[in-house]
Symmetry: C2
């Protein structure tokens, strides 16, 4: 990795931490320059604008989510096992985040949902891919005969997504130690409701 | 209502709209003074600080949520009917919000979850009361014999809350017309899983 790339990585790492705690609105060239002891013009050499910087953070976070959560799950056995593998990895990503303010993709979803622009397009695209992945995992469990043949995988994907987002928020706000156990119970209920009867 | 009160109401109304669309960080005395064509000193006469202004918006929104959603639901017949009444009113509040960026209580939950202070204390307290209300509604359905006697109402309240928060976010991000129908299906599944067997 060249010096330029290392600096770029350092900038994105710090920007992710800032976005996680204070939101993307706090990720400005000026704020970062101060925190990293770099000149503003040095930062501008890497990112031409606040928008480009925020988009780079989003792409970086999405790539990490894909490699840490999605890809390993897609390499496990198809069917319910894959649904469970994805859940386990996603749960750890969301509830045991090393970022100071939790998952920046969740932060971005809330912050940009009312702000048209490339950041909103990026996060909407990422989250739509995620919904598609969730639905495809459920489909694979329908094909193995573990989930009901008439399962609405579109609905299942949204219920699952809502559960994860909702429990992430419960965790951030209440900091209850039982939060992870509650999410696990909720997920078991979601899965048991779509299993073929007799497989409970 | 005196002139002072009317002005105060006008300020809070505008501040709520601002918070809904741009987040609470955008609710500053300066920004509001510009939008309302009031002097900064005039605004300071009503709210001594940005913090006080943000807390007033939170209290106002919470009071409206209580009178529009909670109180009418608590006046319906106890049991499953009350759970359903609360769901219907809450669903409308969340998904058909007249606020430009959706529910400000949701916005505040995300924005203040990593920021200790009176705003965070206020929103945490409001959301904890809401969880308690959800659990009490479920308890009333246990007492009427509609919900299972061994129901964990603490878990049920959190599952329900997560569902509402998650679907609110799905609605804001994807703007799918099917979102409300999906939330309704998810709620039906949540309720049918806790009903006494044979009452499906």
């Amino acid at each position: 990795m060249g010096k330029g790339e290392r600096t770029r990585d350092r900038i994105i790492g710090k920007a992710m931490a800032l976005a996680s705690r204070d939101g993307f609105d706090g990720v400005t060239i000026g704020a970062l320059a101060g925190q990293l002891r770099l000149s503003k013009s040095g930062l501008f050499a890497h990112f031409g604008s606040k928008e480009e910087l925020q988009c780079s953070v989003l792409q970086h976070a999405a790539a990490r989510f894909t490699s840490d959560v999605i890809e390993p799950a897609l390499h496990t056995e198809r069917g319910e096992a894959r649904v469970r593998a994805l859940f386990e990895r996603w749960r750890k990503w969301l509830l045991r985040s090393t970022m100071p303010g939790g998952c920046v993709l969740v932060t971005a979803s809330h912050e940009f949902d009312d702000k048209p622009g490339p950041q909103r397009d990026l996060i909407e695209d990422q989250m739509r891919r995620l919904l598609d992945t969730l639905a495809r995992c459920a489909e694979s469990a329908v094909r193995t005969g573990e989930f009901r043949a008439d399962l609405d995988t579109h609905q299942f994907a949204r219920d699952w997504y809502a559960l994860m987002f909702g429990y992430h928020q419960l965790g951030r706000l209440f900091k209850e130690r039982s939060n992870e156990a509650h999410l696990r119970n909720a997920f078991e209920q979601l899965v048991s409701a779509v299993r073929k009867t007799g497989q409970h």
